[in-house]
Subunit: 234 residues, 2 copies
DNA sequence: CCTATCCAATGTGTCGACAAAAAGGATGCG
DNA sequence: CGCATCCTTTTTGTCGACACATTGGATAGG
């Protein structure tokens, strides 16, 4: 699906091909436009993007490094599955990253960081206001990624981004139908977070981040168990 | 340096080339056999490993994903530098990972995990006994990686491995000269760690891991500041 | 003598093609 | 009629070659 055409032929710059393919595929995977398990065919992509298989392969190698696709040797590459067995590990890790990045932001933020964070929060509030679930998920991710940036710890920021992306896949899996979730509560929690970061109050930032993480984890768990019940009911 | 010859020509299996190059280069980078900043030439590697540039490039892309090499567009690829400015972030992250992986191991370990951990600890003790600094560093890494495995959280295990590898590079930078460091203290701390994990005592595991991390961080800091003094003295 | 421009040389990014490996279907046997 | 085997087809892994970008040196100008 989504056989969006690329620019016609040979007008792209020298190193841009890989980046383009990587970005597009990454987005399609995260947005579930490419559902987990779908095969990723190199020839098909080569034709779609009007380029040789070489840059395609490089993009796939990088996506595999991010864990977004899984390469079966001598066999096809597929979009990585969402592993429900390791959900507890996921919840554990993302909760910890919420905490340390927010705490780090409270400690290391510059004024410019704060401004950027506020911009993302505005975008998030806007998405909530207009009931756009997909936009909520995306802007929420950007908001927390900006906080992680302000925390000045690339190790945390990298892991957190990865976790947030996986969370995006998870949420999309459930939010596509009933799009009025993600309560106003999240907006106010975000505001409290910003306050704590602005005041450089490490403990408050940590505390509200933990609460926020719990909130999100519980929501995902609720969605999943509800879904399970439905499936059993069939 | 180290122009180790590979097996002659075309007797390697189909998907093994990339893995081989990746593993060899990774080891040479971590062991500082390839010092930070050294250029990584694709043609040169292609000749050295007796294969085309394609699998070489794929290995380099993966190494770049691990942060071990840095690719300058249209220019050479170089072994990533050790960034001393982000050392505080490194210390922060590795301390946290020491704690959560050890705590996780105390919670989720199987008996088999415990056995594996003890084996690695034996190897570490052996290295300490024989005053082999390089072996200490390597076996210490394996010991903690095994604990991380037992913690059953792939996110933590991945980040921790990466941090331990960077730590290996850091330590090698200083240990090459005076090789009698890494006191017996570390061995006993490891033993305490194993005890806590065996008893499934989460808090004790956390506590001893934090102490252990502090120990290591302080040691690295000492080495660096000593080294700085020497350099200024020249 | 110093500086700016041009040119050659080196090395990366991309391409099309070939070969090995696996998947799926056809065929023969029990 | 079911099952194993062979073959065909599809797709990946690897190769050698070419085109562009950058670098460093040579040359001309100030």
């Amino acid at each position: 699906m989504s056989q969006n055409a690329q620019q016609h032929s040979q007008d792209r710059k020298r190193g841009s091909g890989v980046r383009l393919v990587y970005d597009v595929l990454r987005d399609e995977i995260i947005s579930l436009s490419l559902p987990p398990g779908s095969p990723v065919d190199e020839n098909q992509l080569a034709e779609r993007f009007q380029m040789s298989r070489t840059p395609i392969r490089e993009a796939l190698v990088r996506l595999a490094g991010d864990g977004l696709v899984t390469t079966l040797p001598n066999r096809s590459t597929v979009v990585s599955n969402i592993d429900f067995l390791s959900l507890p590990a996921f919840f554990d890790a993302i909760t910890l990253m919420y905490r340390v990045t927010t705490r780090g932001a409270a400690r290391h933020r510059s004024d410019q960081d704060l401004e950027r964070i506020r911009e993302h929060q505005a975008a998030f509030a806007e998405a909530v206001k207009s009931q756009d679930a997909m936009a909520m998920i995306a802007t929420n991710r950007d908001f927390h990624a900006a906080i992680a940036e302000a925390g000045r710890n690339p190790y945390y920021a990298t892991l957190f981004s990865r976790l947030l992306d996986e969370g995006r896949r998870l949420l999309r899996l459930y939010y596509s139908s009933y799009a009025d979730q993600l309560p106003q509560e999240f907006v106010t929690e975000h505001e409290q977070m910003i306050d704590a970061i602005a005041r450089r109050d490490l403990d408050a930032a940590d505390r509200i981040a933990a609460i926020h993480a719990d909130q999100i984890v519980r929501q995902i768990q609720t969605l999943i168990s509800e879904d399970r019940r439905d499936q059993i009911g069939l």
